[in-house]
Symmetry: C2
Subunit: 336 residues, 2 copies
């Protein structure tokens, strides 16, 4: 490996002068600069990034940590952050959190790499382990709020979006509306349950806990969860997130239930019927988070808004128009 010393020897200057030339320091004569540049090219000098990081204490790298990179929602966040970082000469490393309990070790091993910043969509329920790092490294939460630590966050309007989706079902005449989620331990899921309940209350519909079921994380779990919920006799369901929704497609596809879901997903518009969703714009989430990291690095002393809530919008498709079960309810009512 060619070092600055090697280049210096060839150019007949000191290592420091090579450093100056390489970093475009103006205090070098044109003639010296030329000689050094020739040596640089001749030896094919490549800086040792680790040494630079070690010396300066910061790698020109932003970390992005997400619960599951297979989920297109999180992949989009990462991709947007990467695009923005690249525009500012930074690279991005993505890492999978894998599971709530592994989050601390995974994130800390990332943070030890002297990152310039971290964008995290947390999986864990408590993020107190970040306290020791947050003074030295800007950390921005996305999708979910920080718990046990103060940090910037960009989240979507979970309560509002769930309210919107549920109200949409109400407007279609449904009164028996189920809630299917992944895990109520997650604040995001809880907030969406809250929005769902608020919408029902606002419509004067009584809450029924047998219409709330969680555990839809894969196709098997989704089937079990739905079987549970189905006993309560819903005519419509609201899925609390895209991943649950994707798992639920096989079982909801031909159920005759009206459906809305929180979070768009690839091919949702191509299913039969196509699914009505709440759209979250993960690209914007990722871009905003990365921008905040860059801002904090550039102006550490400025004050920033701690919490930013992004609006969501309803994308209406077909899954609320077709509602066999509701017809059933109506016919039954007519007969009475």
């Amino acid at each position: 490996m060619v070092t600055m010393r090697d280049v210096a020897a060839v150019a007949g200057v000191s290592a420091k002068t090579v450093s100056r030339v390489f970093n475009d320091n103006p205090h070098v004569t044109a003639e010296t600069k030329q000689r050094v540049e020739a040596a640089l090219r001749e030896l094919n000098y490549v800086p040792n990034a680790i040494a630079t990081t070690f010396r300066t204490g910061r790698a020109p790298v932003i970390g992005v940590a997400v619960p599951d990179i297979i989920d297109p929602f999180f992949a989009s966040i990462a991709k947007a952050a990467e695009t923005l970082a690249a525009e500012h000469g930074m690279s991005v490393v993505i890492t999978n959190l894998r599971s709530p309990d592994r989050e601390p070790e995974v994130v800390q091993s990332l943070l030890r790499q002297a990152l310039s910043g971290l964008v995290i969509a947390p999986a864990a329920l408590d993020h107190g382990y970040l306290k020791a790092w947050i003074d030295r490294t800007p950390v921005v939460f996305v999708d979910r709020q920080p718990v046990g630590v103060a940090a910037d966050s960009f989240i979507e309007d979970d309560v509002g979006g769930a309210h919107l989706a549920t109200s949409h079902l109400v407007e279609h005449g449904h009164t028996r509306i189920g809630f299917i989620g992944d895990d109520l331990a997650l604040p995001t899921t809880r907030a969406r349950l809250e929005g769902y309940r608020a919408a029902l209350s606002d419509a004067g519909i009584a809450l029924d806990d047998s219409l709330v079921a969680v555990g839809a994380v894969d196709r098997a779990g989704a089937a079990a969860t739905f079987a549970d919920l189905d006993r309560a006799g819903p005519s419509a369901v609201f899925c609390s997130n895209a991943r649950a929704a994707i798992s639920l497609v096989p079982i909801l596809q031909d159920s005759g239930l009206a459906i809305t879901t929180f979070g768009d997903f690839p091919l949702a518009d191509m299913l039969t019927p196509s699914w009505t969703v709440i759209d979250q714009d993960p690209l914007q989430l990722g871009a905003l988070a990365a921008q905040r990291i860059l801002d904090r690095l550039a102006k550490p002393n400025r004050r920033y808004r701690r919490r930013t809530v992004l609006p969501v919008r309803l994308v209406e498709r077909d899954s609320c128009r077709i509602a066999t079960r509701l017809e059933g309810f109506r016919l039954a009512a007519d007969r009475r």
Copy 2:
């Protein structure tokens, strides 16, 4: 930040002894070890990973570089590599290649981080830029072969899979079979075109270049590409990859064409009709690649198989059963 020196001062030993204790070096008396461990805990010592990497020249990190992390195929490769690495105390950093021409800079900035190894699903057409690194860092290619550099690779059977998919259409009675791909500059796409052509030849069907169209990278491109192909009057199409397939769903869904595609994708089995695909097992690809990195690190002098081709299998679903256009052809033939 607490350093080994600080710990050494508290324990009343030298920094080197602290290092020995921390790294489980046996040449330390039990009594000394105990004292040092107490100091370690008291000061809450956390090693500076950058300093260690700097000193040893290797970070306990495997890099995974893929063209597009949004593509579930590549995300699966990354995830599998991560799982395997974690079992061996290594972490993984994922990076997006973004585009063929940006690949060299992106990869090299990754490699400068003194990685222990790199798993790459390349986007670029030539990988000669890796020559300078490959002696110091194990590099394993997945999905696509190395060009311009010698390296290990794990790829799927592109020619065989395409042959399989095309033959399947032939068996269903099709003779006008289109090929829709993303980019013929990619060796993968070319190999699949080759398999497609071989299958037609084997069936005694004449090749027709107007039945080959590329440019399906997003929904707009897919629509344009298909419009082009459609003029040639196909009754069936073979999509050369999952990403193209996903983009083509809107336009092929109700086309009445029989369909096969190379690469399964989420919800392919939930479309109407469900899509028959060639399944590639990206998880295995990622796991094998990461294992090879670990093997090469553990036994650098062993010899390894350069090129491993994984078999693929046909997953038959409904998209070949429904073939309105073929009926049209037959009726036309009957009338004659």
